[in-house]
Symmetry: D2
Subunit: 339 residues, 4 copies
């Protein structure tokens, strides 16, 4: 079976494995009092071109939820897209970590939030105690349907949020894929565009089991560290998480891996451009194949039908280690089906 189910089926990059192995020597103080953990703020600060506070956690769900729990009070609400991972795929983690805040949903093509739709949704809320109060905006970069926000788009949304005292969170489980797909800097796509806290995904793009939470405003870290500990998300042997985060940037795999995944996905998209159900942008390809073609492909290829039953849509995801020959095979099969 050739797998295009998700980039989380990938293995760990050799650079990360090597860094882990290199760190596995001798004693290191626990709970982040090691030299690798100490280096995180500096290395990530250089990457983003601004002082940051960086914390390792064990999953994207933890990264997202701890960010929301830190910046949204229990009586607040997080504006996010109807198809957002935090709404659909985290089993209520945001509600758990915030002490019962709500997610308030905004629609939009490509799982992207448009400023007008955000404004319309914000118009529902009134500044009285009967309703929850908008306190955060969370957007996904790249989105759950493979789209990207430009720095200008992020800025437009952040401006709306900040004017209302809302913090801005970016779920960057596939941040690297979104970044390399544009000719912009990490700074332009985050803090310069108003992002307050970023879940910077490492796992899907070559990491093992550590994601980075990046706070661009140190004063907002506030109680994050206490919340991380009481969530069981402070790694005991911190070096093995920190070293993954360091190697991810320092080895350059954040870029190489993302570029490769995007390039492979572009090949798939190019095979049947007329069937694309989303404009192609990163490492996910969405196609309206129809149920018959989906069935035909399912023998050789592992992938997810998408959307409601009978939609005929399919999603193909490439990862940093998807074999080129698997893409060859998929393109060939798709080519035959659409010719």
């Amino acid at each position: 079976m050739r797998y295009f189910k998700s980039d989380n089926t990938a293995a760990v990059s050799a650079e990360i494995m090597q860094a882990i192995t290199d760190a596995n020597v001798g004693t290191a103080l626990a709970y982040g009092a090691d030299r690798w953990s100490d280096a995180l703020d500096t290395v990530y600060g250089e990457f983003f071109g601004t002082p940051v506070r960086v914390f390792a956690v064990s999953s994207g769900t933890a990264a997202n939820s701890l960010s929301l729990g830190t910046l949204c009070p229990p009586w607040g609400t997080v504006l996010t897209h109807t198809e957002a991972h935090i709404e659909r795929d985290e089993c209520g983690a945001p509600e758990f970590f915030t002490g019962g805040a709500k997610l308030s949903l905004v629609g939009g093509a490509g799982a992207k939030i448009a400023p007008a739709d955000l404004l319309a949704r914000l118009g529902w809320f009134e500044p009285h105690v009967h309703g929850v109060q908008p306190r955060m905006l969370s957007i996904t970069q790249a989105t759950e349907r493979g789209a990207i926000y430009t720095p200008q788009e992020v800025s437009a949304l952040s401006k709306i949020a900040h004017e209302r005292g809302m913090a801005v969170h970016m779920d960057g489980a596939r941040f690297a894929n979104a970044l390399v797909a544009q000719k912009v800097s990490a700074a332009e796509l985050t803090w310069k565009a108003g992002v307050d806290v970023l879940s910077f995904g490492v796992i899907k793009n070559g990491g093992m089991n550590a994601e980075a939470v990046v706070f661009f405003d140190p004063t907002r870290v506030a109680d994050f560290e206490f919340r991380r500990k009481r969530a069981g998300q402070l790694f005991c042997k911190g070096r093995y998480a920190a070293v993954q985060l360091l190697a991810y940037l320092e080895s350059g795999i954040w870029r190489r891996n993302a570029e490769r995944a995007n390039r492979l996905a572009a090949r798939i998209a190019a095979t049947a451009p007329g069937l694309l159900s989303e404009p192609f942008a990163t490492n996910q390809v969405f196609m309206k194949l129809g149920d018959a073609r989906i069935t035909a492909l399912s023998g050789e290829f592992g992938f997810y039908p998408w959307g409601p039953a009978g939609s005929g849509e399919a999603r193909f995801v490439c990862s940093w280690d998807t074999p080129e020959e698997d893409v060859d095979a998929l393109c060939a099969a798709l080519g035959k089906l659409v010719s």
Copy 2:
């Protein structure tokens, strides 16, 4: 500096590293749908000699808190020792995961709970709505002061708990150290003695970043899996956690590592038996050295003064990879100080 601060400063055992490396080949479905995760119940079931359900999480705090959250309702209380890790060192994680249940504390030498003290504390509770209700007992094996519970002792406590409808949790962050210190089986020390759920520590004894939660009664798993996911404790690339748990048992390091740590600690204890402030049992040594001796040792050795300021007590912990020469040096230094 020679470190005896804790066993969590140790590196990862070669057997675990090898298993991780071996697993780092090709594609594996995410979130535990991989062959290593699939094997957990079988391998741990054989180890314990009974059917079990086993789940990997990223920290001991998560293992403990998710266990409590699954088996204790928000209006319940967990009876535990005053010095228990869940009370002292987890920043309120049990309260977070249970939705605000209480810990009710029982004293006792060696951080051990005696049946009479448990009964006395239980006598405080009344079956009315004004007070929280005893719903769980949590004991630590080995305890936070290095002591062990015998199977008979665990049974006596479990009997008291079960007669009142309370579940029994064992915090086994150092379970292997407690097990090899006795001539008993893993079964005798757990389910045969009434333990319902065990936090089976792997990290301190050679693992990297995965602990095992072992449910001895499958019907009690109930909502554990949903709670794990919404806590961000379901590993994305599950194989790298599962393989640690498998290698831990299959390679035999659970025993070899624990035996070595205990043996080294025994050497330290034997150097100054008259100064021991706790009977020696596992891989932790507690000594009433006095502040002057503590200061004298602090230049060369890293360790924690213990108890309240001015108590003059110190704790030395050996891990699976503590250098024998570090123990030589500590024994020599201690010998000089006490001669």
Copy 3:
């Protein structure tokens, strides 16, 4: 100013005041150990024609949220209408009391849920740990737009819910208004139609500050009483709440008050049937007046514009004590505006 803002601006019925005064003699044990509280199950059991467990709480929000908290686990979700009070007007109380469960929204005219829409929404959920699980259905009777569910409609929804293991909650803040609007019994509209727990509103219909939570299946009470206490919702001097709940049924004001409110509202609705934006059914009247007419009426009458700004819709609510002459005046004013 003549008020049609809501039925919660009404005073307390004389029958309730008298009952409170009558109970204000001598000593009564606290926290519900009084003879009035003792009588609740019997009196409500007779009203509903089946054994029930009844509990007093201080607000409709508390009644709803404690019901949800008892029957929905933290990883569950409550299916409810987009315009439901629990979603819009309780500042996240359901999320607070459930420990962070979600509300999942279903649309529909009249703030009513149709079986087909419920089924469609249920189709979104998958039985895996990544998403919250449907565990409850909550419907409002009468709805937030004044509509009623017939027993057949409630049954159809309950059947869908129960087949999936979901409990059924009815928010009956205006249950009496919905009941007297139909030729059916309280039993037919609740437990015979599959309702598991009812928030039976007393306050809006003549009460002072006590609502009834009615469990039709005693085995589901489970942990409700502990949750009520720890929410600060167990009245200290329980008699003053219990006596309100008793007098509400025993004096017959539940019916008289509701009938009067409905009758007055019917007069308003009949004044301008062509402007009704919702079919008239209970004690709420919704009209598309247009902004000009709304402004014209606002000098003399207190009422809420409804829906989004510019919708031109207005809501008029009659209560048990709305002065007949206020209705005369409103009908006259409306008549002039629409002629």
Copy 4:
């Protein structure tokens, strides 16, 4: 049966009943937008001689827990007495409202916290993420064993708390009893002594079902109002709660009722001064009667044995409406038993 079980078995004072009846005329906007609720800040501000923000809630548990939830983060801990109501008698409400903060217990005679004991307990905490952080002090006035704190004593404790950034909460379920027992002002006993928020008890001392939460620093109200709403503690028909709080102060019953209760209790205490197990101070009398005498009295008098089984201690509480003849009878019976 003559009752001395608690002051919560009392009826409602005529002054409160009259005020409720007087307010039961015509329409009043809901949720606190009525003229009685509007007057609360002014009337209580005059009573305390400083600007305050005052909120009505339905129970003492709600008053306490909402105060703690507002001022203590989830990773914080509230220092309080081992015998505090919030620890013993609220079924974990503080943990629920704070999102899982801990209570950390301090012993001391008379259920009073001494500065030295508070300091000693504070010495346990370390400013790292592994442990919860002291963020509040909660003291009870009068205490659960009838004792009072002088302004000097409150000040000494508040100073310790404030120096560490901790807020100070006073559980004043019997605040009036403590106030009239001393020749001090309400101001001296609260904000001038460093109290940040007071649960000002009304119910036990003549009220029906409303307690006052008094914030002395308006800036600390912060999110209290949202939390009150989402706890179902915002009264729908707010006038009936507000009017209780107003009448309590304006009629002077806060003083008359408390003085009477204290005076009656003093008569009981004076009957057998040698048997007092606590120095007498307010409206509670604690005596070491021995089990035989307790049994002898139990036929005619309703009261609670106190402390652990076999302690032989009993508690007698007088309320504002305890019949003088009941006290006559109890004094006579006690006199016979001890002669």
